[in-house]
């Protein structure tokens, strides 16, 4: 599956959206949805809710590994560039030192390592989140506009193996949802 392409359910319905009044309601609802065994779902909140990742049963992000690999790659490239320039492409005696005076390469090696690591963090985060995404079926919902204001949501996508239009609606209502709606794709 290519990155940067929105991964959306294929059927006629995107999924179920439930609105909760408080972060506590959202937190406890997430625990239940997690325990019910849903896998294709998400929680939405105007601000970070402490411990929500645990309540949702999220695995740790692979982003640190991307940053590590990128950082090491950058450091190696930075070092190799200087080595190539000083020892191969344009050998020049500078202050009487050998061509390959590696201590002189350290600052640039470090900086390029940091640069690649930072780029890996930013673009890795965007890629893992499949951003930028200019359209999402959740935007069809009128109540969802308040997700940046004062409302808390759980969305369960229709291609979740455990998704069932009426049973999922009942589950979300039993968890104290203020409103539940079925969204079209």
């Amino acid at each position: 599956m290519p990155l940067l392409v929105p991964q959306l359910p294929t059927g006629s319905h995107y999924g179920m959206l439930a609105e909760f009044a408080t972060p506590a309601d959202l937190y406890h609802a997430c625990e239940r949805v997690r325990d019910e065994g849903f896998t294709r779902w998400d929680a939405h909140s105007p601000f970070p809710v402490h411990g929500l990742d645990k309540a949702m049963g999220l695995r740790r992000s692979p982003l640190p590994w991307i940053v590590l690999v990128m950082g090491l790659t950058g450091a190696a490239l930075g070092f190799a560039l200087q080595w190539w320039v000083h020892a191969k492409a344009y050998p020049l005696v500078i202050s009487g030192k050998p061509y390959v005076s590696w201590p002189a390469y350290i600052p640039v090696t470090f900086e390029v390592g940091v640069l690649f690591g930072a780029l890996g963090a930013v673009f890795g985060m965007l890629g893992l989140n499949r951003l930028p995404m200019h359209y999402h079926p959740l935007f069809r919902s009128k109540v969802f506009e308040r997700v940046t204001d004062d409302a808390f949501f759980i969305s369960i996508e229709s291609w979740d193996p455990r998704f069932d239009a009426s049973a999922t609606r009942k589950l979300l209502e039993s968890l104290g949802a203020r409103s539940v709606e079925l969204l079209e794709s």
């Binding site: 970070p48 411990g51 640190p64 590590l68 202050s95 009487g96 201590p103 002189a104 350290i106 600052p107």
Partner: protein
Amino acid sequence: MIPEHDRVALRPEQATIPPGHPWNRIPVIAAVFALLGAVACAILGAGNPKQFFFSWLVSFMFFLSLALGGLFFVLIQYAVQGGWGIVLRRIGETIFATIPVMAALFLPVVLGLHDLFEWAHPGAADHDALLRWKEPYLNVSFFLIRAALYFVIWSFMAILYYRGSRGQDVTGDPGVSARLRRLAGPAIIVLALTQTFASIDWIMSLTPHWYSTIFGVYFFSGSFVGFIALLSVVVVAMRRAGLLETVITAEHLHDIGKLLFAFTAFWAYIGFSQFFLMWYANLPEETVWYKARIEGSWMQVSLLLIAGHFVVPFFYLMGRAVKRKGTTLALGGAWLLIMHFVDLYWQIMPTLHPEGLRPSALDVAAFVAIGGCFVGAASWLMRRQALVPLRDPRLAESLAFENV
């Protein structure tokens, strides 16, 4: 409604060493070691006073740097009103409370002034233009005045912060935290200056022709790595011994690990900055210090520092799981504690043994003597107090702390 984390309280018996606990015996054991070390120093040192004074200086700077690192750790937490580390603060306080003891242990350095410092030889400046130029600063009486001043200032700060925190255990007055916070900013500046000049006096002036403007920062970075390393070892040992098991959690270990990781990188950054500019400019009055450390077996020690004080711990401490488990964190801490000692040994000993690494039984004797006093004093204080500041206004926040 009171948020859940505000209702957590700690009963004093959860945070003290219970009677009959093996840790109650540590002060006596440490005192025996201190005595044995002192006797060994006297016997071995009588035949080789020069070696004794250098060995003593290395171990003295090692344990002093740990205490000063602890003082900085506590001051910075007050200054930034840190919440997470409150449960660790008393350990830091106990460690820096040993500073008055360290002042007494400075006496051998004073007695060995002429053996340690070339500039202190009578008439050394007569034939040496540079020493003559530096004489207004590097002379015996001003050196002693400065040393006295450092210890008075450090002891004053140590007692002020230790007493304040202990007093709050009894009174529960949140005003103590506010007052110590207001003083913390100026105290950090004073500590930074005194620590810088102390490192110039006691380590840098061993090579009196040499100078490095970053030396004070280098000493500070090592001292803070050393203290955090010690903290990680102490905390894990405590938990193993059944102390503060429920109080200090994996979350606190994680943050200790992050500090250890960050300051290991900081130490390397500062150490390399010092080396880099001198290596690049290649001026004789600057390179003389490194020349002594890349010749003979000292080169192996230099390489050991690069690998052992930076490269290996940097990658070892990078991962999350390593920092959150007591065993792995303490392993990293113990390793860095050894490396911090090697670092100071490498800074001080080439003056005595320019021909190469010459380990001596006196190194061990001085380490045991000073270490015994240091551990003895700290563990004696631990028996007499709660192991966390029981009534600090941020204790509940620290107990409930979780990394995001």
